[in-house]
C-alpha cells in the first residue's frame, strides 16, 4: 500500500497546506475500488486512468563488488485531475510524477520529475510491450508484463541501468488484490512482485540484488482521520518476504495490515490482530540545510501467528526524500532477537512533518 504517500503527490488539490488531502478526496465521479473484482494480467499492469491515483513502485537492495549495500527507488505516479472522461493531447487531465533515489555508501541522492499526460512525455502502456516512462527515465519490458525489463534513469549525474527479471507469481494483497485501508471502506487494488532479480550498473559500479515492485491504484485510499503511515517491504534470508504497513489514526487506533509470503510462495494475509509494531528509537534526520526531523528509525515487529520477531534498522539514517511531497524512504536491514542480520528491505515513513 505504501505509497499513497506520494501521491499526495500530484497536486494537492483543495487544501494546499495538507499534502495528503488528495488521498482523502471523495471518489465521486471516479471508478470505485470494490471487492470481488479480479486483477487481470497483463491488462492491469497498464494504467487505469478512470481511477484517481496509481503508481508503479520499485525498490531494490543491492550489493556492489566490494560487498557494500546500495539501494535504489524508482516510482512513477499517475493522477487524474478530474473525473471527466480522459482527454487526449494537451488537454489531458492525467498528470505524472516520478521519484528516483540512489542510496550509496557515500550518501543518498534523489530527483523528482513532473509531466502532463496525453502528449507522450510520460505514460505507461503494456501493448505490445510494457513501458513506463517520464522523459528519458524508462522501464521497458520485452513483453506486455513489466518483467523481464530494463530500467534506465539517472539521479543528478548518476546513471542507473538495471536488468530486472522474475519467475515468481504476482502476489495479490488483501482479498485477491482488494486491499482495505480503513474501517470506513477506503481501499485500493494492490499487488506486488516481491522477488525480482536485479543486476546492473550505477555509474561505474556493478551491482546485483533483489527488488520489489508494488502496483496500486485507487480513487480514495485514505480516510479523513488518517495522518500518515509506516510501511515495510522485507526480503528475509530464508526466502520469505514480508509486506506490512501501519496507517496511523489520530486516536491511536491504527490500521495495520500485511502479507507474508513464505519460501514456497504461499501468501498469508495479516490483519490488525496479527501484527504488533513498535518504535524502538527516534533519531534526527536532516531534511534540508537548516532543519532536521526526529523520526522513528528503529522498529520492532512481532508476528505472533508466525512466531517471528524482527528488528528493523536503517542501513543509513539519512535517506530523506526532500521532494515536493517529502517523506523518508530507504534501505533497512532486518535483525533477529540476537542481532543477526536476517534480511533487508525498504521502509517508508510519511506524515511526520
Amino acid at each position: 500500500m505504501k505509497r499513497f504517500v506520494i501521491i499526495l503527490l500530484l497536486l494537492q488539490t483543495a487544501l494546499a497546506d495538507d499534502t495528503f488531502q488528495v488521498l482523502r478526496n471523495k471518489a465521486e465521479g471516479f471508478a470505485q475500488v470494490v471487492p470481488g473484482k479480479s486483477i487481470v494480467f497483463p491488462a492491469d499492469h497498464g494504467a487505469h486512468p478512470d481511477y484517481r491515483i496509481e503508481w508503479w513502485y520499485l525498490t531494490a537492495n543491492l550489493v556492489d563488488q566490494k560487498g557494500r549495500d546500495w539501494g535504489i527507488q524508482w516510482t512513477l505516479f499517475r493522477q487524474a485531475l478530474s473525473a471527466q472522461t480522459e482527454q487526449t493531447g494537451w488537454s489531458s487531465d492525467q498528470m505524472w510524477m516520478a521519484h528516483a533515489a540512489v542510496s550509496t555508501p557515500d550518501g543518498h541522492q534523489f530527483e523528482q520529475r513532473f509531466a502532463r499526460g496525453g502528449i507522450g512525455q510520460a505514460s505507461v502502456v503494456n501493448m505490445p510491450q510494457f513501458e513506463a516512462w517520464i522523459d528519458d527515465w524508462q522501464w521497458l519490458s520485452e513483453t506486455p508484463s513489466p518483467l523481464p525489463a530494463t530500467l534506465k534513469f539517472n539521479v543528478s549525474e548518476i546513471k542507473v541501468e538495471m536488468q530486472l527479471s522474475s519467475t515468481d507469481e504476482w502476489v495479490l494483497h488483501g482479498d485477491h488484490g482488494y486491499s482495505r485501508k480503513s474501517a470506513q471502506g477506503q481501499a485500493s487494488y494492490y499487488y506486488s512482485q516481491p522477488q525480482i532479480g536485479i543486476s546492473g550498473q550505477i555509474g561505474e559500479h556493478r551491482l546485483s540484488g533483489s527488488a520489489w515492485l508494488d502496483r496500486e491504484w485507487s480513487s480514495q485510499p485514505l480516510a479523513d482521520n488518517q495522518s500518515g503511515w509506516d510501511w515495510f517491504s522485507l526480503h528475509l534470508n530464508d526466502g520469505a518476504k514480508l509486506m506490512l504497513y501501519r496507517l496511523r489514526h489520530a486516536d491511536g487506533e491504527h490500521w495495520l495490515s500485511g502479507s507474508w509470503i513464505d519460501q514456497s510462495g504461499f501468501l498469508k494475509h495479516l490483519g490488525s490482530d496479527s501484527i504488533e509494531m513498535s518504535e524502538l528509537a527516534f533519531r534526527e534526520v536532516k531534511i534540508d540545510q537548516q532543519n532536521s526531523l526526529r523520526l522513528p528509525l528503529d522498529w520492532r515487529i512481532n508476528l505472533p501467528v508466525l512466531n517471528r520477531q524482527l528488528q528493523i534498522k536503517p542501513l543509513y539514517d539519512q535517506q530523506w526524500m526532500g521532494t515536493r511531497f517529502p517523506y523518508w524512504e530507504g534501505m533497512v536491514l532486518v535483525e533477529d532477537n540476537e542481532g543477526n542480520r536476517v534480511g533487508e528491505g525498504y521502509m517508508e515513513l510519511t506524515g511526520y512533518q
Binding site: 488539490t13 494546499a16 485531475l81 488537454s91 498528470m95 513532473f114 502528449i119 512525455q121 528519458d136 524508462q138
Partner: protein
C-alpha cells in the same frame, strides 16, 4: 569657524524663507527638470534591463531556440522525441496574437509549466499550489500582468471578449518572470484559443557543450537550432529610440534649469544687501563661498530627491505605452514594473549638481567677487547679452563643423543641441534689437509709447531667461510636431499602397492550392499574392528574404524611395525581368550601407549567389533588413523557405465577395482569426504608430508646461522686484489699466519675437530630424510636411499662457500694491 559658518548659512538661506514664491519656482524648475530627465532614465534603464534578460524566457535562461526551418511550427511529436532523448532543458512555447473587441492586439505566450527546467518549486512561490492546478485545467487561467489587466479593465476571473466573439480564459492578475505585457496561459488553452496544433518554438535552457552537440545531431531535419541573439539584437535595434528619448529628457532638464537660473537671478538682486552686510561684518569670501557651496548641495539633494520621486511617477505613466510599442515594433518584452536603481539616483544628483553650479553657484560666486557696490545692471545686461551672442556664434560654428560627421543618433542630437542653444543665446540680442527698432520707428508722441519701450528695456534682463526657455520649448514643439505629422502622412500614404489587398490570410493549415484554384475562386477573387520568405542574418542584423509574385498588384506599385533606372516604373520593370536583381528596403541602404547597383552575396542551398540592387523601397517601421526576390527564385535557392500567407484582392463586381471569400478560406482549412481585413490591418498599424508617438507627445507637452512655468515665474519675480516702482507710478497718478498695459506690451513683444524665431528654428529642427536623424537612427526617409497651422496653433496657446500669467500677475499686483504704497509712504 563652525558656528560662524552656521550663522552665515542661516543668513544666506533665510532669503528662501522670506521669499517663498521664488523658493517655490526654484523648486518647481529643479523638480520639473530632474523629474522629466529621471523619468526617461528610469524608463530607458528598465527597457535595457529587460533586453539584458531577453535571453531568458519565463524565468529560464534560454540560450538557443529550436524552430522549424519552414516556419510551420514544431510538431509536438518532435518535442517529445527530444525530451525522451533526455533533453529536459527544452520547453515548449506557443506565441500568438488575438484582438480585443476594440481591435487592440493582445499577445499570448503559453508554455507547459511542468516542463520548465526550474519548474514547480518556482511556480509555487507565486501563490498557493491551487493556482497552477487551475492553470492547467479547463477553463484554464489567463495570467495577466497588473498593468495590462488595468488597461483591459479585467478583474480576477473576468473573461476578456475577443473580436471573433470568443472569450479568453478567466483572468488572474499575476505575472511570471519575463512575461512583459504578454498574457500567459497553458499550452492546452493557447492551442484552443489560437486554433493551433504545433508549437511556435522550443526554448533551450542551460546546456553543456557536449549535450548541445548531441542535441544538434539528434535534431530532426525540419528543425534548426538557433542561437538566441535577442538581447544583442534588441540593444542594437532600440538604441536610437532610447537616444531620442534621452535627448528629449535633456531638453526638459535644460528648460527646468533655465527656471532655476531665473529664480536665482532674482534672488541675487534681493540677497545683494545680505551679502554686503555679511562682508561688512567681516565674513571672509571663503566662508561665504563655502556657504554658497552648501546651499548648492542643499538644493541638489532636495531637487534630486523630489525630482526622482516625480520622475518615478511620470515613468509609471509612460512606461506601459512604451513597452507596448517596443513589443509591437521589436518584439521586445519590457517589464512594466519600475525598479529603483542607485545608478539613476546618483546620475540625477550629478546632473542636478552640474546644473545648479551653472545656475546657482556661478552667479552667486560672481556676485561675491563684485567689489563695486554700485549697481551696474544695465551695463551688465548689455555685456552679458554680448557674451551670450559670442557664445552663440561659437556654437553655430561648432555645429557647422559637426554637420559633415553626422553618423548616428548621438552626434545628431549633439548637433541639434548646439543649434538650439545657439538660437536661445541669440535671442536676448534679438529681443534687444526688436526694442531698438521699435524705439527708432515710433514718434516722440505719444509719451506712453516711449515709456512702453523704455519699460521693455528694464524688463528685458528679467525676462531674458524665460524667453529663452519658452523659445526652446516652442521650437521643440514645432519641430517634433512636424516630424510626427510628416511621418503620419507618409505612413498613411504608404499603407494605402502597400496594404491594398482586401484580405490578408496567414495560417499554416490552409490548402492554398485549393483556395486559389481559378475555377473555384473566380467569382470572388480578382488577384492574389502568396509570399514566401526565409530569415537570415546579413551584416549582423536579422534580414528577411522575401519571395514575391512580381506581377501582383502590390508588387507592381511598390513605392520606391530610390531607383537605378530613369523612373520607378522602369526600375520595377527591370526587376520583374531579371531574376538576379533585387529590391531592398531603405534600411539596408541607410543602415546597411548598400548603394544602387551594389551586389549582395547571399548563401543559398546551391552555394553563394550574387544579386544586384536595383532600388530601395519604403518600409516604414521595419527594424530589419528586407530583400525582395521573385517567388520562383526563393523556391529554387532556399528550399527551407516558409509561407508568409496570402493577400487577396476581392472581385469588386461581386457584392458577396467577402462572404464567398470567407467561406472559401474556411473550406481551405482556415478559421476565423487566421485572416484580417485591410481595414483592420490599417487600424492596427495606425494604432501602433500612434502609441509609439504617445511618449513623444507627452514629453513635448510636459516641456511646454515647464516653459509656461518659467514664464510665470519670471513675471512674478519682476512683480516682486518692481513692486516699489509700481507703487511710485501709482502715486504719480498712473491708472492701473495703463500700468498693466505698460507691463504687458513688452512681454507680448518679446513673446512674439521668440515665437517668430521658433518658427524657422522649428522648421530647421524638423528638417534635421526627418532628413538626418531619422535616417541615421531608423534608416527610413520621408517627405517633410511643413504647415503653418501648427505654428498658429502654438502661437494661440502661448498667447493664452501669457494672458493667464498676466492675469495672475495683475491679480497679485492689485493685492499687494496697497502694502507697497503704504511702505512708500513710510519711506517718505
Amino acid at each position: 569657524m563652525h558656528a560662524s559658518l552656521y550663522l552665515v548659512i542661516r543668513a544666506v538661506l533665510s532669503h528662501y524663507w522670506c521669499h517663498r514664491w521664488q523658493t517655490l519656482f526654484l523648486l518647481v524648475g529643479l523638480v520639473a527638470g530632474v523629474g522629466l530627465w529621471s523619468a526617461v532614465q528610469i524608463i530607458n534603464q528598465q527597457a535595457r534591463l529587460s533586453y539584458a534578460e531577453a535571453d531568458s524566457l519565463l524565468g529560464v535562461q534560454a540560450g538557443y531556440w529550436i524552430r522549424s526551418r519552414n516556419d510551420t511550427g514544431v510538431e509536438v511529436a518532435d518535442y517529445i522525441h527530444l525530451r525522451r532523448a533526455g533533453f529536459r532543458q527544452l520547453f515548449p512555447v506557443v506565441e500568438g496574437e488575438v484582438s480585443t473587441q476594440r481591435g487592440e492586439p493582445v499577445s499570448i505566450i503559453a508554455t507547459d509549466l511542468f516542463a520548465l527546467p526550474s519548474n514547480l518549486l518556482d511556480v509555487d512561490k507565486i501563490d498557493p499550489a491551487t493556482v497552477w492546478l487551475d492553470f492547467v485545467q479547463p477553463p484554464y487561467r489567463a495570467w495577466i500582468p497588473a498593468q495590462l489587466a488595468d488597461e483591459l479593465n479585467l478583474e480576477k476571473n473576468s473573461r476578456l471578449p475577443l473580436r471573433d466573439g470568443r472569450l479568453l480564459p478567466p483572468a488572474l492578475v499575476q505575472s511570471h518572470a519575463q512575461q512583459g505585457r504578454q498574457i500567459l496561459m497553458d499550452i492546452a488553452a493557447a492551442f484552443e484559443l489560437l486554433n493551433m496544433t504545433s508549437l511556435s518554438y522550443l526554448a533551450l535552457g542551460a546546456i553543456k557543450p557536449n549535450e548541445l552537440e548531441r542535441l544538434q545531431s539528434l535534431l530532426p531535419q525540419q528543425l534548426e537550432l538557433i542561437e538566441n541573439h535577442q538581447h544583442l539584437d534588441l540593444q542594437q535595434l532600440t538604441e536610437s529610440l532610447h537616444t531620442h528619448l534621452s535627448a528629449m529628457s535633456l531638453l526638459s532638464f535644460a528648460v527646468g534649469i533655465f527656471i532655476v537660473f531665473n529664480a536665482v537671478r532674482f534672488s541675487l538682486w534681493y540677497r545683494r544687501p545680505t551679502f554686503i552686510n555679511l562682508r561688512l561684518m567681516g565674513v571672509s569670501t571663503r566662508l561665504l563661498m563655502t556657504s554658497v557651496l552648501i546651499e548648492t548641495l542643499f538644493w541638489s539633494i532636495i531637487g534630486t530627491t523630489a525630482g526622482v520621486l516625480v520622475g518615478m511617477q511620470i515613468g509609471k505613466l509612460l512606461l506601459p505605452g512604451l513597452s507596448a510599442s517596443l513589443h509591437s515594433l521589436y518584439d521586445a518584452t519590457v517589464n512594466t514594473q519600475l525598479i529603483w536603481q542607485l545608478d539613476t539616483i546618483l546620475k540625477a544628483w550629478g546632473i542636478t549638481l552640474l546644473g545648479l553650479c551653472w545656475a546657482l553657484a556661478w552667479p552667486l560666486y560672481r556676485q561675491l567677487k563684485q567689489h563695486s557696490l554700485a549697481s551696474r545692471v544695465s551695463e551688465d545686461e548689455k555685456q552679458s547679452r554680448q557674451r551670450l551672442t559670442r557664445a552663440a556664434v561659437v556654437l553655430v560654428v561648432c555645429s557647422v563643423l559637426l554637420y559633415p560627421y553626422l553618423q548616428d543618433a548621438l552626434s545628431g542630437f549633439l548637433l541639434l543641441g548646439l543649434l538650439l542653444f545657439s538660437a536661445a543665446w541669440f535671442l536676448p540680442s534679438l529681443l534687444a534689437l526688436a526694442l531698438q527698432t521699435i524705439s527708432c520707428s515710433i514718434p516722440d508722441h505719444p509719451f506712453i509709447a516711449r515709456w512702453l519701450v523704455s519699460d521693455g528695456w528694464s524688463q528685458l534682463p528679467a525676462l531674458r531667461t524665460a524667453m529663452m526657455a519658452l523659445m526652446l520649448a516652442m521650437t521643440a514643439n514645432l519641430g517634433v510636431g512636424t516630424l510626427v505629422d510628416s511621418f503620419r502622412n507618409a505612413f498613411v500614404d504608404w499603407l494605402e499602397v502597400r496594404q491594398s489587398a482586401d484580405i490578408y490570410l496567414r495560417s499554416s493549415r490552409v490548402d492554398f492550392g485549393r483556395l486559389l484554384d481559378p475555377q473555384q475562386s473566380s467569382a470572388w477573387l480578382q488577384h492574389s499574392h502568396r509570399r514566401i520568405g526565409v530569415t537570415t542574418r546579413w551584416q549582423f542584423r536579422q534580414t528577411l528574404i522575401r519571395g514575391v509574385d512580381k506581377q501582383a498588384p502590390d508588387s507592381l506599385n511598390l513605392p520606391l524611395a530610390q531607383w537605378s533606372a530613369d523612373s520607378p516604373a522602369k526600375t520595377l520593370a527591370l526587376w520583374r525581368a531579371d531574376a538576379n536583381s533585387l529590391l531592398v528596403n531603405e534600411q539596408s541602404h541607410y543602415l546597411g550601407g548598400l548603394q544602387l547597383g551594389d551586389k549582395i552575396d547571399l548563401e543559398t542551398a546551391n552555394g553563394p549567389k550574387s544579386y544586384r540592387v536595383l532600388g530601395f523601397f519604403y518600409d516604414y517601421g521595419n527594424p530589419y533588413f528586407q530583400f525582395y526576390l521573385s517567388r520562383e527564385e526563393v523556391v529554387r535557392q532556399w528550399p527551407q523557405h516558409y509561407s508568409r500567407g496570402v493577400a487577396l484582392w476581392l472581385n469588386p463586381q461581386n457584392e458577396n465577395a467577402v462572404l464567398l471569400a470567407e467561406a472559401a478560406m474556411r473550406a481551405a482549412g482556415a478559421s476565423a482569426g487566421d485572416w484580417i481585413s485591410q481595414l483592420q490591418v490599417r487600424k492596427l498599424s495606425l494604432n501602433i504608430f500612434e502609441r509609439t508617438f504617445t511618449i513623444t507627445a507627452a514629453m513635448n507637452a510636459l516641456t511646454m508646461i515647464v516653459a509656461a512655468i518659467a514664464l510665470l515665474a519670471s513675471l512674478l519675480a519682476i512683480l516682486q522686484e518692481r513692486l516699489p516702482q509700481f507703487a511710485q507710478w501709482r502715486a504719480l497718478g498712473v491708472r492701473s489699466r495703463e500700468q498693466f498695459f505698460i507691463i504687458a506690451c513688452p512681454i507680448l513683444i518679446f513673446v512674439t519675437v521668440a515665437w517668430l524665431l521658433a518658427i524657422p528654428l522649428g522648421a530647421l529642427l524638423s528638417w534635421l530630424l526627418i532628413h538626418k536623424l531619422n535616417i541615421v537612427s531608423f534608416g527610413w526617409s520621408m517627405p517633410m510636411l511643413w504647415e503653418m497651422a501648427p505654428a498658429w496653433r502654438l502661437g494661440g496657446i502661448i498667447l493664452l499662457v501669457v494672458c493667464a500669467t498676466l492675469a495672475m500677475t495683475g491679480w497679485q499686483l492689485r493685492r499687494r500694491l496697497p502694502d507697497a504704497l503704504a511702505q512708500l509712504g513710510e519711506m517718505d
